[in-house]
């Protein structure tokens, strides 16, 4: 299905760092009007009759919203599904941590929402770097997601009439976000997990918890299986199937300090990338504006405070730097700078994440940050609920945000009902991921990628409450319809466990494990992870420059060389060995980190969450260059000693006019 893209013969490195290959000519979206496309695709796709489904097998790596929903739906349909996660239970996938909510164009509030408006907001919010056709479909199926979840018993917030309640989220002016207090991800995941467990009981899904995929098996150019390590016994296992789905989440953990779970990793995606799957827009990182600021070196993660807090909290810093260490309650109104309300009067505190994040950084860089200084700079701004408490009463604030306030107090030791919260941006989500076509198929036939692991829907910046929507859209509604078109040509000829491709993949995994255990150096895996994270945050984080990125590439290469000669992994390959698990993940992050910097370096524009120092307007806003960069950068693995190869997919906007974004 996917075009084979040949590498350019031109061996001259572009900019000294990468090669340019042929463009990607086709994303396989059906033609016609955008509102009809999905209906047409579903109709055109081949069907698989129920008796044949039993003979078809699908491996799904990941049990977050994307993986669990796909597993449940494909199991129900009658396919034989093998589901994998590294946690002890599928219910613990990282989706559980999502707080704020999930978007859907239900227009229950009658405030002018529609599928088209959700589509429009998402494309605009992504700074015109997402693919129109996929985004439209996302908006279209969003409506069904809510119905499905409610039917499963997901306890969304309701009003006194018993109907569903909504709130609004950064970057939009309608209330289309469904939520379950600050625990929306948890409730949605429990719904999908329960549906998955139902299929496990029914025998259509086999669950492999505490299993980690370490290699993809490609036979005759098609994805046919995976090599996984049983994390309890240490056994390296081979699992074969007719198709493989990666729903393995995002790679924000490359930064070490992020809001991601400790185990979030890029391994499944990276191993597939090394086997031929293109990695698209790796440098697109989302920085979330409302996280609890870092307090010191001991920290293993950053904690997000739901963005919904921006609905009622007002963000400010002192007008004068000398007021920054005063008690915030004692600063008079006229001494405070409500900078978002001042600069962006129509969106105010609800501007999109990239803008809110960048402005917070600007305030701190100007010396007007608040809270304790880390490395000599105060990195925090106030998120103040005093006005909301006065307007709504403390009880109403408590019932809306209580668990978030408690969490804040637990972590910081300060009571946010009395003192304004302090927030600062942190790495939160990655918009990049494996390249997929309209059918969510990667450049390796038979390898599908869903949820945060793919790249398609959010462009250069993701609007709040859209990742959950995408995960469930992909898993419940999109993939089950597109994968069947691929599977209709199956069952494919069985692959013997001793086929050369399988043996090679097994041996590769075994030798990596042996290598980690034999290096016996002096530095722990975590120390490398922290060092990598620091480079990434400083030089490929909120703000990037040509010079910084070039330095970062050199530093990462040196760190990687050191890792492979000096890392210390104790214990054995048999049984549970958490250092060994981490070593594999960090080794892959060390390769991904370099590609992220290469991608960031080549994109000489500011766009979405990616602010390029050399590309800004006179008043310091991000300056995009549509004439040069309105494309997806899809990178092909260039080999261990080679350079990555860039394939461009032009982004064509037929249904939305491409404009400069403005929230003023």
């Amino acid at each position: 299905m996917t075009d084979t893209v040949t590498r350019s013969n031109d061996t001259e490195l572009v900019d000294g760092i990468y090669l340019e290959g042929d463009p990607i000519s086709d994303s396989h979206a059906p033609g016609g009007d955008i509102a009809e496309m999905w209906t047409n695709r579903k109709f055109e796709g081949a069907l698989v009759n129920p008796a044949n489904r039993r003979k078809l097998s699908i491996i799904i790596v990941g049990t977050g919203l994307a993986g669990a929903s796909a597993g449940a739906t494909l199991g129900e349909a009658g396919y034989h599904v093998k589901s994998f996660c590294y946690q002890d239970s599928p219910r613990r996938a990282h989706s559980i941590a999502a707080q704020g909510g999930i978007n859907a164009a239900k227009n229950y509030k009658g405030d002018g929402d529609s599928i088209h408006r959700l589509f429009y907001d998402t494309v605009k919010g992504g700074d015109y770097r997402s693919r129109e056709t996929n985004v439209y479909r996302l908006a279209e199926v969003s409506v069904d997601i809510i119905d499905q979840c409610v039917a499963q018993g997901v306890p969304f917030a309701r009003d006194y009439g018993g109907l569903l309640d909504n709130r609004s989220f950064g970057g939009v002016q309608v209330s289309r976000t469904f939520y379950a207090r600050g625990q929306t991800g948890q409730q949605l995941l429990i719904g999908a997990y329960q549906a998955l467990e139902r299929q496990i009981a029914a025998g259509t899904v086999e669950m492999y918890s505490r299993h980690e995929m370490l290699e993809l098996v490609v036979v005759d150019g098609k994805a046919r299986g995976i090599i996984a390590r049983d994390l309890v016994t240490g056994k390296i296992e081979t699992h074969m199937a007719d198709a493989v789905v990666l729903a393995s989440g995002g790679y924000g953990n490359v930064f070490f300090l992020s809001t991601n779970a400790m185990g979030s990793n890029v391994t499944a995606n990276w191993r597939a990338h090394r086997k031929g799957a293109y990695f698209a827009n790796p440098c697109y990182t989302q920085i979330h504006p409302t996280c609890i600021p870092q307090s010191g070196d001991h920290q293993s993660k950053l904690t997000l405070m739901s963005e919904s807090l921006r609905n009622d909290g007002r963000i400010w810093v002192p007008k004068k730097a000398e007021d920054c260490d005063k008690d915030p309650r004692e600063l008079a109104e006229e001494d405070r700078d409500y900078y978002l309300e001042r600069i962006y009067p129509s969106f105010g505190n609800l501007v999109p994440r990239d803008i809110a994040s960048r402005q917070a950084k600007n305030m701190c860089d100007e010396g007007r940050g608040v809270g304790p200084a880390v490395d000599g700079v105060r990195r925090g701004v106030y998120l103040d609920f005093a006005a909301a408490i006065e307007r709504m009463g403390e009880d109403a604030v408590r019932s809306k945000y209580g668990n978030l306030f408690d969490m804040y107090e637990r972590i910081t030791g300060e009571n946010p009902y009395q003192v304004p919260m302090r927030i600062y941006p942190a790495v939160h989500y990655t918009m990049g991921g494996l390249w997929v076509d309209y059918d969510l198929q990667s450049t390796i036939p038979g390898l599908f990628v869903t949820g945060e692991a793919n790249f398609s829907d959010h462009g250069a910046n993701r609007l709040g409450a859209s990742a959950l929507m995408q995960g469930l859209a992909d898993g419940y509604f999109v993939l089950p319809n597109t994968i069947r078109d691929y599977l209709a040509a199956g069952p494919f000829e069985a692959v013997a466990e001793d086929a050369p491709e399988v043996v090679a993949a097994q041996e590769a995994v075994q030798s990596r494990v042996d290598q980690f255990l034999s290096i016996d150096g002096t530095r722990s895996v975590d120390s490398y992870h922290k060092a990598l994270g620091k480079i990434m945050w400083e030089k490929c984080g909120m703000e990037r420059s040509d010079e910084g990125l070039r330095e970062a590439i050199e530093e990462i290469r040196a760190l990687r060389t050191d890792f492979w000669s000096n890392v210390k992994v104790l214990g054995t390959a048999e049984g549970l060995n958490q250092s060994l698990e981490k070593a594999g993940r960090v080794a892959d992050f060390l390769e991904l980190g370099e590609l992220m910097c290469v991608d960031a370096l080549h994109r000489r524009e500011s766009c979405g969450g990616h602010f390029r120092a050399e590309s800004q307007t006179e008043d310091g806003e991000a300056l995009r260059h549509d004439d040069e960069f309105a494309y997806v950068a899809a990178w092909e693995w260039g080999g261990d000693d080679g350079a990555p190869v860039l394939h461009k997919e032009d982004l064509v906007y037929d249904f939305i006019e491409l404009k400069q974004r403005s929230y003023k």
């Binding site: 002890d88 239970s89 941590a97 018993g153 306890p155 496990i200 637990r410 722990s524």
Partner: protein, 250 residues
């Protein structure tokens, strides 16, 4: 802070375990309990000793992966998850005893990690609403009174960490099972399978080797999410009714 840690070390499921003492210095009051263990592990690695295995993932109190018994209490002295317990809850010079969850239905895998897959099997026995994808009516077609929605939500907050089991002298999992029965039993969507659900889930609960509830309430005191004891009353009421073939219409 300076601390003396006594930690349960056990090489694998079939090995005999034992307590080992470690001294640690330089712990920040602002670090979480697990960050303190991270620091210990860094020191162990440097001295060539295998780090202590423990489970965690989200580190923000929502995934339910973490959980150890600290000085005899599940998740330690505060009502929260181990990852959200901060070292400011301890004093300089304290001795802290750290053990894995103790229950036959939660066998130890290594050190502080236990196998809680029995919880998943209880859910498999009926902890869901049987609805296939794509056949759901409009979400607002069935209004749910706010009190019911709120109570369902309260029960649905269970994170499946297993502290209730670890705290219970009988190692019962009634708070966990009761929470799921209450969550789905409060909603109109959960009614058709309500009888079968409670019967099957309780059968599985017993088959897994969890003990019976004797209303001591240790579970709810240890629960980091504050799931109240009355979910067990609801479980029992539903069980009686289902057992007698009664209906839930009244």
């Amino acid at each position: 802070m300076k601390l003396a840690l006594k930690i349960w070390r056990q090489d694998g499921p079939t090995d005999d375990g034992g307590m080992v003492r470690y001294d640690i210095d330089g712990v920040s009051e602002d670090s979480s309990f697990l960050e303190m263990l991270d620091l210990l592990n860094e020191q162990l690695i440097h001295s060539g000793e295998e780090p202590v295995a423990f489970d965690s993932d989200c580190r923000e109190g929502i995934c339910g992966a973490c959980g150890v018994v600290i000085n005899g209490e599940a998740h330690g002295p505060e009502r929260t998850t181990t990852c959200q317990l901060h070292m400011r809850s301890f004093n300089d010079g304290d001795e802290i005893v750290i053990e894995p969850w103790r229950a036959d239905a939660f066998p130890v895998i290594k050190d502080l990690c236990v196998d809680r897959s029995s919880f998943d099997r209880i859910i498999q026995a009926g902890g869901y609403v049987s609805v296939n994808t794509g056949s759901a009516p409009d979400a607002n077609a069935v209004p749910v009174p706010k009190e019911h929605a709120d109570r369902a939500f309260m029960a649905a907050e269970c994170i499946g960490c297993g502290a209730c089991v670890a705290a219970c002298p009988n190692a019962a999992a009634m708070l966990f099972t009761g929470a799921k029965v209450t969550h789905l039993g409060e909603l109109p969507q959960g009614q058709p399978e309500r009888s079968a659900r409670v019967l099957n889930m309780l059968d599985q609960h017993d088959a897994e080797g969890f003990g019976g509830c004797t209303n001591l309430g240790e579970c709810t005191r240890a629960c980091p999410k504050g799931i109240p004891l009355n979910v067990i009353s609801q479980l029992n009421a539903d069980y009686r009714r289902a057992g007698y073939g009664g209906s839930f219409d009244d």
